[in-house]
Subunit: 379 residues, 3 copies
């Protein structure tokens, strides 16, 4: 066709204007994975998160801390300085900050100015993850998305990181989408019956879930081998794939032998935590942890699943990077049309957009925090 | 001098403001060469044209088609998908488009939405060229610039492509300019007497021609060898160099032995079609076909002329790329002064600017096409 | 801390708004080093200065000249043309300019237009330096900062150039700052007592000086070896480090044996001229000349000091480039807090900002020079 009819294009654009995309401001008042816990230690580690440069390290007692990576004096990156005990010494003029980010020593003068420091971001360590809160609202541990299984010794996990040259909204959309499996993952994940299987979407406030029960089915090698259900047409594959927060999407799957009665059959669970943290508007830190609740001592299963999964995730990443090239070019002719099967991801993107806009609206005109008590901060 | 007098600079700027340059909007309502015909086949081929990404392929019956390279669903590049019969299947979610660009299948749901598709650009194949029409006005074959000789078996041709990191206006200006030969082509083309020879400009609506008859003259090797007029001071070199459209500039030359009477002498004709298609505002697809109307079976002549010509065209390209580095920097002090000998190119650039502005003015506020009948489009 | 109190941040921002930074317009009405004199000869040499491309060469009688590197006809870089006697011939259409920048020949037509040319920048050669004046105000030799010692045969000098991917304001700030030595130069320059030594600042109109007398002290190897005051705790080190113009900062140091009485002791002087010329807003040509007033025939001293100094200057450059990465990202949360010890550099930056603003205010709306008399210019 020359082009869809004007009302079709207009409706598509109206809908899109309510959905988050790569240009939507970030949501700061949320917990994001800043790093895997084992990345941060007794050295200065810097990473760009939500388009801000963040310095991380551990104090001598093992506590992780995070600051803006910019000296309050002349903007020098603190990560180019040194870690001295629990303090950071700027590499340019020797400004020293304590583990709260407060300036405590200025070599050029005997008295250190009071009430000066670098922004300290609350962090929360939990199992393999280091979460960070970068918003102006008070950090709220209740806002952490559920990831209790990641700290549960019953789960055997492996982890990985991919630097995605694509925006985090597209990644979330990709995760909350079962209809791409047969295409983007034609060679890895998708089995014909699974790809065609129906699914339901559950839309709850801030939580968007796809439910797909494929029974009976034949499992692809990634799951068939670990569960022993190889070349077996009567397997069950029960999938729950859920957006839990801007920083976490969890895929939970149960497998069992459908020939056995409930209660008499073994169930195998695997879960994957997909954790996108925006780096910039066009790039994303993609943290992934995959786990299972069975055969913990079988290292070959860990390796088998990790290899298969990360090959598939790489297919998503390759596709999303191709997509980003299109999106990053401003095209006045562009429009996108959504299907009924996109309902969950459309609602999720509306939710992200609404949160971003609400956060912006709540911000003071000048992007600065309310006055803080220095003495309290130093306590 | 410190600088030309203010009125001189002001006059130069006023004149320049009426002439197209790298910042001028593209002219969409025109035919451009999208590709050489032999580049497009039974595979998905993508190229950026007029700053839009275009997908091309041939249907099973050999017909070339061109679409915007962007799925109507989630903007994925269709060129990263697959060609299946005459249809294109998106690599992300399997959306299938027919050879009209209409969406005909959506795997995620049984019913395909109607009236959705990707923009289909009219193409016209003609000899070695695949022309494309990307404007909103109806494609008009009468608007094709004359290139009948390119389809005429009496002409023996060779073709080439150069990716020019420069804007297409500068290339047109370079083509409609005989005064640079002795400088930019000092080592290849220009012979002293030719460079100094007078020329006339013919200004017609949308057609700008330089006419230069150099008689007698000694031909440079590129022409002397093929015509047999080597080291011969009484040759004639009759040149017509014409801008025929934003997409075509044709140089036509006749050579003969001036010692012989008209009617009794052999005439040798060579022609070059220079076909710039903007890729972006700072880069151009430069398609070139060179041909002759004599000695068709002499392959060495084809090779001889091709090698000499493309070496010279590369000199233009090198110069234009140097020039682009200057032009792409916004310089508030800049001005350009034109000479009487620039008259044809100045008029040509005014024509391009006026067309671009007229096209813009005719556009609806939102850059969308008028509603189309889907049923008609599918017929 | 979460962040300094709002009034602290606001005060820091108010102060910063009066200080030059990488975004501040350049000061054009000043002399800058365009090149070392030995870089410019009988060839076309091009360099970007204050974000303008400048062509330089020497006429047959050895006089250096500088023009804008852009033909007045079609903006072709003149540096891609040829030097013919004292004239420059454009490589595109053969436009010929004399050593005043006046257009004197146009091959395409018998009569050359009058009153056309490229902007000619006054240059002033002085010892190893070629100074350029790029502003619209008349070039004023009285505005040259004092550098007489660079032409004085009593001084034995070596020179070097560093291309700094950082802005020139940060470099000036780095130079007018003795408090970074113990940190950025921990491994090269700074000795513990020197780093901790007090200093005074002298603020004069357009001249900002730091004075530091360290007596007694032990000299670092760079100075100890040339002066013979090695491993000697009773040396004197008398430093004057002064911003003299946007283009020159001079460090002058005297050393002597403090055990000897004034008048009976040898004094050793070294000086370094730091000469930043902005290339763009984010990069700087950093010209350096280092000299001494003793032991002129001792080549090993020249080499020894040069090697040590340039290793230290490279530390500054490395640090400033790290800093530039931070500064070039627009961060709405950013602020910088100054100390009492920053007084000289803060005043210097205010001075640069005020000069830039005054220059802008004095400019005509259109950035063109006042009309000039062509005949006078050609005289």
């Amino acid at each position: 066709m020359t082009r869809p009819a004007l009302p079709v294009v207009q409706a598509a654009r109206d809908a899109a204007s309510r959905m988050a995309d790569r240009a939507t401001p970030f949501i700061f008042n949320a917990w994001y994975v800043a790093a895997f816990a084992d990345e941060v230690g007794r050295h200065l580690f810097t990473r760009r998160l939500l388009d801000r440069q963040v310095l991380m390290y551990r104090t001598k007692d093992g506590r992780a801390v995070a600051f803006e990576d910019r000296c309050a004096h002349r903007s020098y990156p603190l990560s180019a300085g040194t870690l001295d005990g629990d303090t950071v010494v700027c590499g340019y003029h020797g400004f020293r900050y304590d583990a709260q980010g407060d300036l405590i020593e200025v070599p050029a003068q005997p008295r250190c100015p009071r009430g000066v420091g670098v922004r300290n971001y609350p962090v929360h360590e939990s199992g393999p993850l280091l979460w960070i809160w970068m918003g102006d609202a008070p950090a709220d541990l209740d806002a952490l998305p559920d990831h209790a299984w990641l700290r549960d010794p019953a789960w055997t996990c492996s982890q990985g990181y991919i630097h995605l040259r694509g925006n985090y909204v597209s990644l979330h959309e990709n995760l909350l989408d079962l209809t791409h499996l047969s295409y983007l993952h034609a060679k890895s994940f998708g089995t014909p019956d699974y790809a065609a299987a129906a699914f339901r979407a559950e839309i709850e406030p801030g939580r968007f879930t796809l439910l797909r029960d494929v029974v009976p089915t034949t499992l692809p090698p990634v799951w068939a081998k670990p569960t022993g259900l190889e070349n077996y047409p009567n397997a069950a594959r029960i999938v729950r794939s859920a957006f839990l927060s801007p920083a976490l999407h969890t895929v939970a799957v149960r497998f069992y032998d459908n020939a056995l009665a409930e209660g008499e059959r073994a169930e195998f669970q695997i879960r994957t935590a997909h954790m996108p943290t925006p780096e910039t508007h066009g790039s994303t830190h993609y943290f992934i942890v995959n786990g299972r609740d069975f055969a913990p001592e079988q290292d070959w299963i860990t390796a088998h699943m990790h290899d298969h999964l990360f090959r598939a995730f790489q297919e998503d990443v390759d596709g999303l990077e191709l997509l980003e090239h299109v999106l990053e070019r401003d095209d006045p002719q562009a429009f996108e049309i959504s299907l009924a099967s996109d309902r969950a991801s459309v609602e999720m993107r509306k939710y992200l957009k609404a949160r971003a806009e609400a956060e912006r609206a709540a911000q003071p005109a000048a992007p600065v925090a309310a006055p803080v008590s220095l003495h309290a901060a130093r306590a």
